[in-house]
Structures are given as C-alpha cells and as structure tokens.
Symmetry: C2
C-alpha cells in the first residue's frame, strides 16, 4: 500500500544516532531533522503564510482541540480544509487534541471509551474518543494526523504510566481502525515516561499496527533537559529506521540537538513564537531580552549573521521600542527571528550530519548556548 507520507533516509551520522531524511507529503517535501512551527488556531501567531515561509519553515502543526472548538472542523472542511482555510500550501500535521484536553480543558475525565471535558471557551460538555479524534482530523485534512493518546499528568507513579500505556495502545488500535482518509498519514504515539520497559511495551504494540510514523509523547515544554534525554534514551532506538520519528512539544535548541543525536527527525514547539511574543530572542550566544535598557541605543541586529527580516532591517533599539510601546510588530519580528533561528539550526544540523561532523558541531553549539 502506498503511504501518503513517505520517509527516505539520506544520511546517517557515524558518531551518534543522528540522521538526515526526506519526508514526502501530499503538500510537498522537506528534509529532516525539521522544526514545525505551531499554528494553534490555524495561524502561526502574527505571521502571514509568506512571512512564515520566509523563516525557512516547511511543515507546520495545528491544534485539533482548538480548531474543533472554534471555528469547528465542519467550518474548516466546508472552506476546503485546513490548507485552503489558512492559506498554507505546505505540509501540515495536526495533533490529536488529547494533550490540550488534559492541559487546557476543565474537569477532564478519562475512561477507556475516551475523555469527557468542558470546553475552555464556553464550558460546554464534550467528549473526545479515538474515533472522534480521527474524524475531526480527517475533516481538517492535514497531511499527518496523530493518534489519540493518554499523556499522564506529571509527576505520575509507575502504575499511572502503565495504565496510560495500556490505554494509549488500545486507542491507537481504534484510531487505526477508524482512519480512512487516503491522502493523510496517521502517526502512532509512544508513551511510557522514563520507564524503559513501558516504552518498549508501547513501541512494540504500535509497531504491530504499522503506522506511517512514530512520535515520542509525554516529553514536553518546560521539562528539564535531563528528563528529555532520559525519555529519549529509552525510546528512540526502539523505533524503526525507515519511519519518521517525531518528538512532540520540544523546541529548546539544546533539547533539539540532544534529541537529534538519538535519531529524532521532527519537532514542534510553541517556544520560539511564545518567547518571541515575550521579547526574548534565541541566538547562538543564548537568549537576548529585548526589553533590557541596555538595548535603548543598540544599533545591532538581534544576531549579526542572521538573514531574517528582523535582523536584516531592524536594530535591537527599534525592537525594544516596539515592545515597550506594545506594538504588534514587536512580537511579529521577534517570532520571525526565533523561527528563522530554529530553521537555521536544523539546517546546520543537517549539513553537519551530511559532512560527518555532527558530534563536534553539537559540542560547539552546546558550549556557546550554555546549559
């Protein structure tokens, strides 16, 4: 059976698990490792599609939970699907909505059938089941859909994690059975926390279902670098070589480099755009805080050798002014810089892997960035 999303391995690092691949989707091809900006509500905050593409971004993520609540997947479908609706003709991945149900919605109750919750918008009682997660994502029409998984709240006991793994496997089976859209791939999600045996159990079961790609779940924004490493150490090597591997919700430069070293191909995170809106810019020398008084007369760009719109055209002094004056252009330009930074980082990672110098590259970058 031909897969709507195909993955081809282009190069492998000899000193680590890092690899370069090519991901072909119905809406175009991209090289991995790749970072997907988050367009929660069918827009990457503040950026037109052209500005987004100019950051080097090729594939983006949209949030099923938010779009199902507003405007409703039936609206998106009636308007021609997510690509047409938001004017983005490149690849899109939608998450399952599960993570947001657990983190955003009020009073979520989990059962084996699915999860009930109250909308964070109007308090209405709703239910998300594996079948419904697939149906919503089919209506949205992204290139890649994700299985509904159970991501346990942290800290979790081993029993809670084991329970989540069991449910995640059962739900993956139901998602796979429900998924019919021929121009959309479905990825499975591995849970299991930092428990090697639970990760292995989950992975084995998912491999039996033969997904087009596999995600490492349960590792997310705000977790320590050590926790990210630990979860990956016990998971990535279990995943098949010929399928894309996606680490959900991770976007700190240090974490990306660590994860690539274990063999991860895809990333998404709100960090670059959220930090951008908060006036913090990513650079190879660590974060630049644009509100600082030190930048009042600072004619330098955010980063000297960056070719993004913000760095080509504007000074830190101007960006500082925009943030102090609460002007939209501040968050816009800082988001553009941060996305460009991460896209350039993944480009440099790919080049380093191909040139056989990923390990020294990793050391250099991590030393400059700090812990």
């Amino acid at each position: 059976m031909s897969r709507p999303v195909r993955f081809e391995l282009l190069a492998r690092d000899t000193g680590s698990g890092a690899r370069v691949g090519r991901l072909a989707t119905p809406h175009g091809t991209l090289e991995t490792p790749a970072f997907m900006p988050v367009g929660t509500q069918a827009t990457v905050k503040g950026l037109t599609p052209d500005l987004l593409r100019a950051t080097g971004s090729r594939m983006i993520l949209a949030n099923t939970y938010h779009l199902a609540l507003r405007p409703g997947e039936e609206v998106v479908a009636a308007l021609g699907g997510l690509h047409t609706f938001m004017g983005w003709d490149g690849p899109i991945l939608t998450d399952s909505g599960g993570f947001q149900v657990f983190s955003l919605a009020a009073r979520s109750k989990i059962r084996d059938s699915g999860v009930t919750f109250r909308s964070h918008l109007d308090g209405s009682l709703l239910e998300l089941t594996p079948e419904r997660a697939v149906a919503i994502q089919s209506a949205l029409g992204a290139d890649v859909a994700m299985c509904l998984d159970h991501c346990p709240a942290l800290p979790a006991t081993r029993d809670e994690v084991a329970d989540a793994v069991r449910r995640t496997i059962a739900w993956a089976e139901r998602c796979k059975a429900a998924h019919e859209r021929p121009d959309q791939s479905l990825f499975g999600i591995v849970q299991g926390g930092a428990h090697a045996d639970l990760r292995a159990e989950c992975t084995e079961a998912l491999l039996g279902l033969d997904f087009d790609g596999y995600a490492v779940g349960g590792v997310s924004v705000g977790e320590s670098r050590e926790q990210v490493r630990l979860a990956l150490e016990v998971t990535t090597h279990l995943l098949p070589e010929d399928r894309p591997r996606y680490l959900m919700g991770v976007g700190r430069p240090q974490d990306i480099i660590d994860a690539v070293a274990t063999g991860i191909d895809l990333f998404d995170c709100v960090l670059p755009t959220r930090n951008g809106r908060n006036a913090t810019c990513l650079t190879d020398q660590g974060p630049v805080k644009l509100r600082n008084a030190a930048h009042r007369y600072d004619s330098r760009p955010v980063e000297e050798d960056c070719n993004c719109l913000a760095c080509r055209k504007f000074s830190r002094a101007y960006l500082r002014h925009l943030f102090l004056a609460k002007e939209m252009l501040g968050p816009i330009l800082a988001s553009i810089h941060n996305l460009t930074y991460l896209q350039r980082l993944t480009l440099r990672i790919r080049e380093a892997i191909i040139a056989g110098r990923f390990v020294p590259f990793r050391t250099e970058v991590l030393e400059a960035l700090g812990p």
Copy 2:
C-alpha cells in the same frame, strides 16, 4: 531656493477643483491625491514595511508627540533617523504633536509661549513650543515637518477660533524661523473652523511665510461629512495652486472624494487601520463587518475585485475565525485590505481626473457607498 519637497501639477479636472499632482521628496516621488497611513509609534500597526508597501502606500505619517515621549527623538536620531529606525525608505511626514497634546495628554495648558501638559505615559510635566516642535521633528528627520498649530476643542465659539487662528499664525512664524534642516520641508496649517473670514485671515498670513505646502487643520476623525465639506469650501480655494494641500486626519472614503473635489492632494487618517483592528473592512459596497455570523461559512473574499493579500488568499470565514479567536493575523489582514482599498480609491480618483470623468466617478462611488 530649492525646496526639499517639490510639487508639480499634472492634471486638473474641468468639472471640479480636483487635480492630479506629483510630489517629489528626498525619499521618493508619489502621485497625488494620495493617502498616508498613520504609523503613530514608528510602525503602521501590525505591518512590516514590505506589507505596507504592497498596499500601494508610498508616503506615511508618524506622530511627533508619541515618538518624543517614547523612545525619545534623541534615540531615533541616534539610530539614524526615522526612516532607518523603522525601516521605511519612502517619504514620511511628521505632525507637530500639537493635536495629540490637546487630545491625549492630561491637563494641557495653552499659553502664547507654547503648551504645557502631562505625559499620558508617566504623568511627567512637559512643554511643547513651536521651537521644540521643530527641533523634535528635525531630530526625527521626516521629509515633511508640520508647524505647531492651535486646534481648538470643539464645539468652539467664534472668539475661541479667532484666538486659535492668531496663535497659529504666531507659532507658524516661530516655526519657520526655527526650522533649519535643509532636507526637510515645513508645511503650514490653516485653522479657522467653518468661518470663512478666519480661514482667509489665517491663510493670508501663512502665505506670507511661503511654506512648501499647506494643511487644512481643525477637521478630523469623527466629524460629520457636512462639517468637513464646510471647512473645505471656505479654505481650499484660498491655497496656492503650486503647493501641495493636505487635509489632516480625514480618511473616510466619502470625505476623501469630497475633499479631492475641492482640490485637496494629501490625506492621513487612523480610520483604515483602526477599523481594520475592529474587524470592519472598507468596500465599494460599504463596510463589511467580519465578526458577523453571516460570514461563518462565507468563502468569498472581503471584496471580489480587490488584489490585496487578504482578498487574494483568504475567505471572510477565515478572517471571522481570526477575529473571534483574537489572533493578530485578523487585524493585520483587515488593515492590509483597508489600506489597499484607500490606495486603490486614490488611484481610481487620479485616473478619473486624468480621463476627465471625475464628476461622474464621484457620483457613482458615493451612490454605491451610501451617505
């Protein structure tokens, strides 16, 4: 003496006072009638310079009051002046700051020497004099600076208007004497309300000072179409033919067309961007309110024959979603449409004047727009 801003008359309508001109500035040339978007704090809200240029905008306005308070004109000057600071290499006009002192600042007190006020940002006591208005604008370095004028609060008695005229003339003399920057033009501002004799008195005095251009002041956002007409009827014909004529603060399509008919060349107004941020779009069929439930499934663009980014790429349904979801891209796209609409309106006005059909064009447009 060579003028930094030169005006050339290209065509004149036979059925009205309407005219087409060419304004040459140190930062480029534009055809008039022209509309200047407002970049209050050295940014037209939400738009990168490229997006702004793509709306057809050629000359923009920035507010002296806001920039003097934040970041301070000394910061802008140290960063290379307003053009470099904000990344806009086209013509810029700065207002004098007077209007904002009267409308925004707290406890403004007017004397013949100048006006004292408290900053709306931090309450500090400041003074704006004609000399200071010129000095700030010299530091900002726009192509056109404006004289400090006294725009009386409305409604005003005849005596109050007469007093404002007297002060406006005295201040114009002091501005002219203080102005030294050779690459910047200084425009005078005619006050006098709807009083023909006061407008005439003010105009005559200003003509004696030989400004590079003349503005009609005291007519602004929110005034009725009749008041705008009345002020123009008693003013525009008094202004010299060979200088640009600028109607400050007016941007409703109907008002622009009325004003062009009397011979006005330049406009500025926050209306297109402010309305855009409030989800209201200008069209030839009148305003489109994007939040309306009627647009939930509306696959049409805001305006069928509009070539702006918003209309080329997105549906009303998507724009409605962005506004309901409080996403920045909503205000951005609606501002782009509204600016493009006004730039296209002035283009159509120029074409109609050149083709000798401005009067029927005016009738057609006003009938479609409504009152």
